[in-house]
């Protein structure tokens, strides 16, 4: 019988804090055969990264393996000496980390950081090691490896850094490669390239993979088996198709119900969020950890231990940790669909015409006076938004969406162009010059839940301030009544008014942020990636809430996002931006169906989708997003475009081609070529 590369048996890991022992991972099992790719998926705090570090036997000062064993090629790693461990680390087990920039030593050149791996593990000379390092950089498809070898980490882009880390991991032909959220810090088109590379490695080298991610779609693309973790333990594991298509744990199903898959629709098939929130490690319930959030909870069955993993059928490798999985009717329509009527958009509320924003930055030159450069953050942005409509602005980093929001809010002046809100031009009206009514009509929801509220003041004080500031109410009693009303709307208990932000979870903070934005009855709300920092199950609840409030108030929502799945789910119209310019705009259906702008096409293909019935065309862009301070000439996308026509695309800005009323693509390609494009995503009949 073949020996597994790695086997975790009843692994338990704890951290020791001031509160005492906190179990981080409980009773974790895993069997990884040679050449296999295993995914570990779960939300933040579920213990998935702890498992990876435990496999490396790197627990930090206050962590320890308190039970079970980790067998690497049949040998228990817990009994190995420090020297034996050292010889395995980096040689037989290698790891790729979440933040490539932080994982590389800032004061050493890439060449040395790569070369030391074979030098210390195989004892080869420096020249030979450098040669191997350069060869490996070619294998991970880095352009100009000579230059990269001689660079410091900060001199190359995030995607390149991650390729360097992968090259470093592969240099000694490891038997096992651990990937801990390797693409989370990267833009989606760059991510697609890295995922493509990882798949190729798995195929060509025979290395076993453990791929850790919060993203089910990524796991589907890269792995053959997976383990779903919740609150420190595995709740379901098995073959990827078995788990995705016939999930047998209520949490797994809740997870799938809360992510916007291509079939979901905000009106006919709204998402269903998992209610409640993840228990803190020292406040876990006695029985099943998921019990308080579970729709199938049964007293007397679910509230005591032991609760082992059980195979769903005799001899099957698909196992779940649920006492009632056999009793639940999995085929029943579990989604309590409450279809709603489509909201009809009203009159024009906001129109943006030819908005342009340029910054001047002083670049540090060798001379006393640095050269001044212009960053074209926004270039000729035009679109309109109507009452009760959701307009999504989609783009990756550097596309200018945040600058756009600042101009709208009056924190920056526009260089040229107009922003018409009602009969008022806001383009050059800084916030100090706007009257209260105007300010209240245009509000914003911010991205980072940890930053959106002032940590020094209570939640109630912060919302009340807005109510008074906008003159909604002045009388203290009425202010409090309005505050309570807002808390009711965002479905938080009224006593939360006395809490401080640090006593709230990320999702709760985002809800307060929503309440604050809606306190003054705004006409237009800009939401800057309001859910991107939240866990998927919380995302669904917060987006659902946001859409409900929007529907009730007939507010116009400008939804800024990089996540096309969310956008497809909730937007009525979409604006796709790249390096400060609009590439394509139109209704959501038009954007997600041909004809596409080549960038939209690549973006669609890059988004991982957690659905086994979905087929995607493989489109992988090469290279990285150029810096907005030095954008390419002509069409900004020409450096990465698969349809690039030399002499045209890199010289002349693209023309606007209108395909339907309001559906505009800025591209040099002939109409027929664009019209002849095939859909990126197709759903195979089940």
């Amino acid at each position: 019988m073949e020996i597994p590369v790695l086997e975790c048996r009843n692994l338990s890991i704890s951290y020791y804090t001031r509160q005492g022992e906190v179990p981080a991972v409980v009773d974790f099992n895993l069997r990884l055969m040679p050449g296999e790719a295993h995914g570990i998926v779960g939300e933040s705090g579920c213990g998935k990264s702890t498992v990876a570090l435990a496999i490396m036997n790197y627990m930090g000062r206050n962590g320890a393996i308190v039970g079970g064993e980790i067998l690497f090629e049949g040998r228990d790693m817990r009994t190995m000496s420090a020297e034996e461990l050292r010889q395995i680390r980096g040689a037989k087990i290698a790891m790729v980390y979440q933040e490539p920039m932080a994982s590389l030593n800032p004061s050493m050149k890439i060449a040395e950081q790569l070369a030391e791996v074979p030098m210390y593990h195989e004892g080869i000379g420096e020249a030979e090691a450098l040669r191997r390092a350069e060869k490996m950089l070619v294998q991970v498809r880095l352009p100009d490896p000579q230059r990269i070898m001689n660079s410091y980490p900060h001199q190359i882009s995030g995607g390149q850094q991650q390729r360097v880390v992968i090259a470093m991991a592969l240099l000694s032909n490891p038997r096992l490669l651990l990937l801990d959220e390797p693409t989370t810090a990267l833009d989606v088109t760059v991510e697609a390239g890295i995922v493509d590379l990882i798949k190729e490695i798995a195929r060509t080298t025979g290395t076993s993979l453990i791929y850790i991610s919060h993203n089910l779609g990524l796991i589907l693309e890269t792995c053959t088996r997976l383990t779903v973790m919740y609150s420190g333990e595995a709740v379901e594991s098995g073959d990827i198709h078995a788990v995705f298509d016939e999930m047998r744990h209520p949490y797994t199903r809740g997870l799938f119900n809360s992510i916007p898959l291509p079939g979901a629709d905000k009106n006919s098939r709204p998402l269903v969020a998992i209610r409640g929130q993840l228990p803190l490690p020292h406040a876990r319930p006695a029985g099943c950890y998921f019990a308080p959030r579970c729709d199938h909870f049964a007293a007397g069955v679910c509230d005591h231990r032991p609760l082992p993993m059980r195979a769903v059928a005799e001899g099957a490798s698909h196992a779940v940790r649920c006492a009632r999985f056999a009793e639940i009717d999995w085929a029943a329509a579990t989604l309590p669909h409450t279809p709603r009527e489509k909201v009809l958009a009203g009159e024009l509320v906001l129109s943006v015409e030819e908005l342009t924003k340029h910054y001047t930055v002083e670049s540090s030159g060798a001379f006393l006076v640095g050269a001044r450069r212009t960053v074209k953050a926004n270039e000729q942005i035009s679109f309109a938004a109507r009452e009760a409509e959701t307009v999504a602005i989609v783009g990756e980093s550097g596309c200018g969406k945040s600058t756009f929001a600042k101009v709208l809010m009056g924190l920056e002046d526009a260089t040229s162009g107009r922003v018409q809100l009602g009969d008022l031009d806001l383009a050059n009206l800084p916030v100090q010059s706007r009257n209260e009514r105007t300010i209240a009509r245009l509000q914003m929801i911010f991205q980072n839940p940890f930053d959106t509220l002032n940590p020094s003041h209570t939640v109630g004080a912060q919302i009340s301030r807005v109510i008074r500031k906008f003159g909604v109410e002045r009388d203290p009693e009425k202010v409090e009544a309005r505050l309570n009303q807002l808390l009711d709307i965002i479905k938080l208990p009224r006593e939360f008014a006395h809490r401080r932000p640090r006593q709230l979870s990320g999702g709760q903070k985002q809800r307060i942020g929503i309440a604050r934005a809606f306190a003054g009855d705004p006409k237009v709300v800009i939401a800057d990636e309001p859910v991107s920092a939240l866990d998927v199950s919380v995302q669904a609840a917060v987006t659902g809430l946001l859409m409900d409030i929007q529907r009730d108030n007939r507010t116009t929502l400008l939804f800024i996002s990089h996540d096309l799945s969310v956008v497809r789910y909730l937007a009525d119209r979409v604006v796709v931006m790249y390096l400060g310019r609009i590439m394509e705009k139109g209704s959501t259906e038009e954007i997600f169906a041909p004809p596409y702008h080549p960038y939209t096409e690549a973006l669609l293909a890059a988004v991982p989708i957690a659905d086994t019935s979905v087929r995607k065309r493989r489109i992988v862009l090469s290279g990285e997003i150029p810096s907005p301070s030095n954008p390419p000439k002509g069409c900004p996308f020409n450096t990465r475009c698969l349809y690039m026509m030399a002499g045209t695309c890199d010289a002349i800005p693209p023309p606007q081609r209108e395909f339907a009323a309001g559906h505009v693509i800025a591209c040099h390609l002939p109409r027929e070529t664009l019209l002849a494009m095939e859909p990126v995503i197709s759903i195979a009949p089940a």
């Binding site: 490396m56 790197y58 000062r61 050292r86 010889q87 395995i88 680390r89 980096g90 040689a91 290698a94 790891m95 980390y97 933040e99 932080a102 994982s103 590389l104 030593n105 800032p106 004061s107 050493m108 030391e116 791996v117 210390y120 593990h121 410091y152 900060h154 001199q155 880390v165 470093m168 540090s364 030159g365 060798a366 001379f367 006393l368 640095g370």
Partner: protein, 316 residues
Amino acid sequence: MLKLIASRLLQMLLIMVVVSLLLFLIFDSDKFKKQIAVAELGGFAVSALSEQDYEAWLEKKGLNVAFYERYAKWASGVAHGNLGRSFEKNEPVLSLVAERLTNTGILAFWVFALMIPLSLGLGIVAGMKEGSKRDRVVSFVAVFTTSLPEIATAIIVTVVFALGLRWVPANSSMVNGWDWRQLVLPVMTLVLYDFGYVARMTRASMAEVMTSQYIRTAVLKGLPYRRVIMRHALRNALIAPFTIIVLQLNWLLSGVVVVEVFFQYAGFGKLLLDAALFGDVYVIQAATLVAVCVAVVSQIISDVGYTLLNPRIRFG
């Protein structure tokens, strides 16, 4: 890089001009003129002086013209290497300051020669394993010694090593010629006070580096511990202490005043204090300018060094 140095030098020049102008403005007051007169002619003679005679004396000394004229004259003198004469000691200021500065330089050399290896070594050892016993001992000693004011440290080392054990003399005035034994207590006082601060900073920097992700990467690459520390950690951990050590020059110029006065060591700090108490304007001006100059140059060195040591900034 050149731009950085150039702009820093320009800033330094500006600061020196502002400082010297300020000094002239301060010492242009009647109070100080009178103080000089008292010092030179004696208190009794000055009080007996008529208004006219006093004016005449001022004119003779060149003190009656507007301060900017004197400033211009003095500035051109400085440009020619002439810093004026000391009223108190009737010596050229230049040679006086140079002599005292040399003495303080000797003191400073020994302080740095002992303090740098001591504080870096202890700081690195402590920071390598945060929270370990070694770390706690070093941290405690460091807090303790930095908490003792120099004057207290000076008293304690004098009482113990000079008055109690009688190993070294308590007085460092060197009236009977140069004696290295008289240097021991001043150096010891300054090192004891200063090493703790630098050691704490080194420890903090090392501890931060040791928890960084790139150190985790280095360990999980399977590198030997020695290599992780020597090649990966130290280079990054020593950037912050380097700048701090250079900036200690500025601090040392403060610290030497009390130590030199307490031990009667004929150095720069004592010169400054004596001149201030006496009202010896040109000496104060020269000494202050020298002090500011040293401070600003050390700041430039620390900035430039930081940039050189830190590739993230050097090639940013």
